[in-house]
């Protein structure tokens, strides 16, 4: 069984790399990007992760906009929003957007909770792929 591919997008380098290591210890295949441009470039290059852990507050591009961009390219990629502040969840409620994230987690996140959500997101993606909604 292939490993679940996780993309961590966060401008805090230490956080992203440490989190990636912890996920890898737990059997995921994790890549880090420290800005949204890199992340989108990756996705445009058709290197699709299964699940994206996306920080809400990023310079240059808003987390929500990035979410839209990702979903435009591949709607079956599941995105879990990481937020360091409380506004995230209510923003999600307020925005009239076409796509919604799989879930939200507040930083600092409990690793077990995170892995459980990643697995759930993966299951949803696999279901969508089997239905032919994307790749």
């Amino acid at each position: 069984m292939s490993k679940v591919k996780v993309l961590v997008v966060d401008d805090e380098i230490e956080f992203a790399t440490t989190l990636a290591e912890r996920l890898n210890i737990r059997g995921f295949e994790t890549t880090c990007c420290f800005c949204t441009e890199d992340a989108l470039a990756l996705i445009h290059a058709r290197e699709f992760p299964d699940v994206v852990l996306l920080d809400l507050k990023m310079p240059h591009m808003d987390g929500m906009e990035t979410l839209e961009e990702i979903k435009k390219y591949n709607p079956t990629i599941e995105v879990i929003m990481l937020t360091g502040h409380g506004g995230g969840i209510s923003l999600i409620g307020a925005e009239r957007k076409k796509h919604s994230p799989f879930d939200c987690i507040m930083k600092p996140a409990d690793i077990n909770e995170l892995t459980s959500k990643i697995n759930q997101a993966m299951a949803k993606r696999q279901l969508a792929i089997s239905k032919g909604e994307g790749v």
Partner: protein, 443 residues
């Protein structure tokens, strides 16, 4: 014939005399009249003429009465011939013509004599008597003094008394009105002051809240890094073989992780407080909500032998509010009550209708109570009495509860007696005035 035009001229050349009044019947009853005759001696032919005229007294009366002297005087003509002198015209006081005038006439026949007398009913009367030159008559004018009183001093006394009473009454009324208005002004001032104090307090809390949220936000990222790294270290230690200080390092890392966890609780609560500035309104039955909240409670209450009673009002208005946030605040209050009791006690949750626009919820415990010197601080951020033992308090529960209640347009107050118990009273409006909400940007 010589000219009669000037009396003086007549006097020089003729003699004239007044004959006293005589009664004469003219066929229509007895009427008094007086006669004036003038002798005219023509020195040219030595003849004497007498010109005689009779004047009806009523005519004379008319002339006298025309001298308007006001309503309370009497004016009449008296003849000095006769004892007593007789009235020649009618007098209000003394009667018709030919009635006796009961007083002596002054001796002085020159000028006007004025005197003061007592008239009928003991009134003071001013009398002026003037003899009409060249006639046996005197003109008498009587003026009654002082319309409003028997006696000037009595009148003065009465006047003084009335003025005094009026002044006192007026002063009294002025005093009362002044007191009333001063009272109103003071009331308005006090009300304004207390409102200002409350606004200040609320806005202080709001800015503390924002500050706290801002700090929490800034701290959260480094905290996430520490948390991730301690987690990673723990992961790596688990994967590695034993080495000299492995156990010690694991223990130390665990200690660090625990500390990070405590920080995380604080920041999450503060950020949660800031986050929930958005309200989702729905119609809520406060009684149902209280039952829901009870279902969330730990089994701990039961375990500790604490009874929770619901005293719910039968008819209570439906309120418009945010369900999640109401659950949060009542959960906080009930948990506080449970912690205050410790073991074996009772918490009463009472709902009631205050009026058509507000409902009231009381959370009553028979726990240890809150001393007077700290009760004013219990809503301050980071204020806690639970700073020992396994369940350390963050000091944020009541701070956040206060903020949420204010945001929902309500009010919270507390009463407590040490050793007896505490009552928290929450008052909520049935409708929230949305324009008054404090908006916090992102959080």
């Amino acid at each position: 014939m010589e000219n009669f035009s000037a009396l003086y001229a007549i006097r020089r050349y003729f003699s004239y005399s007044f004959f006293p009044m005589t009664m004469s019947s003219t066929g229509t009853g007895v009427r008094p009249f007086l006669t004036i005759s003038v002798n005219f001696f023509n020195k040219n032919n030595g003849q004497t003429w007498i010109f005689r005229t009779s004047i009806d007294v009523s005519t004379l009366n008319r002339y006298i009465e025309q001298i308007g002297t006001g309503p309370l005087s009497d004016i009449f003509i008296v003849s000095r011939l006769g004892e007593p002198p007789l009235l020649q015209t009618s007098s209000e006081q003394y009667g018709p013509p030919l009635s006796p005038y009961p007083f002596e006439l002054p001796h002085s026949r020159i000028g006007i004599t004025i005197s003061e007398e007592r008239g009928v009913w003991d009134y003071v009367v001013l009398k002026a008597v003037s003899f009409i030159e060249g006639s046996p008559w005197a003109l008498v004018l009587l003026k009654h003094g002082y319309l409003y009183g028997k006696d000037w001093s009595f009148f003065k006394a009465r006047l003084f008394f009335i003025v005094m009473i009026s002044t006192i009454v007026a002063l009294f009324i002025i005093l009362q009105i002044t007191k009333l208005f001063v009272g109103r002004i003071r009331e308005a001032d006090e009300k304004r002051e207390s409102m200002m104090a409350e606004i200040e307090h609320t806005s202080k809390l709001a800015s503390i809240g924002r500050l706290a949220a801002g700090i929490a936000h800034e701290i959260n990222n480094p905290l996430a890094i520490i948390s991730a790294k301690t987690g990673l270290i723990t992961d790596l230690l688990e994967l590695s073989e034993n080495f000299k200080y492995k156990n010690k390092i694991e223990a130390e890392i665990q200690g660090t992780a625990n500390a990070v966890e405590r920080c995380k609780v604080i920041t999450h609560r503060l950020l949660g407080f800031a986050r929930r500035m958005d309200i989702t309104l729905e119609s809520i039955s406060i009684n149902s909500l209280m039952k829901e909240v009870l279902s969330f409670l730990d089994q701990e209450a039961l375990y500790r032998g604490i009874h929770i009673d619901l005293d719910l009002a039968e008819s209570i208005p439906i309120i418009e509010s945010d369900r999640g946030q109401l659950q949060q605040i009542f959960l906080n209050l009930i948990n506080n009550a449970i912690d205050a009791i410790g073991k074996d006690g009772k918490v009463i949750i009472k709902t009631s209708k205050r009026d058509d626009d507000t409902v009231q919820v009381d959370v009553i415990d028979n726990g240890k109570g809150i001393p007077q010197d700290i009760i004013s601080h219990i809503f301050d951020p980071f204020f806690t009495t639970k700073d020992t033992g396994e369940k350390r308090g963050t000091g944020l529960g009541l701070f956040i509860t206060y903020g949420i209640i204010k945001k929902l347009g309500g009010h919270i107050s507390v009463r407590s007696t040490v050793g007896t118990g505490t009552t928290f009273t929450v008052i909520l409006p049935t409708k929230i005035n949305l324009s008054r909400r404090v908006h916090d940007v992102e959080g």
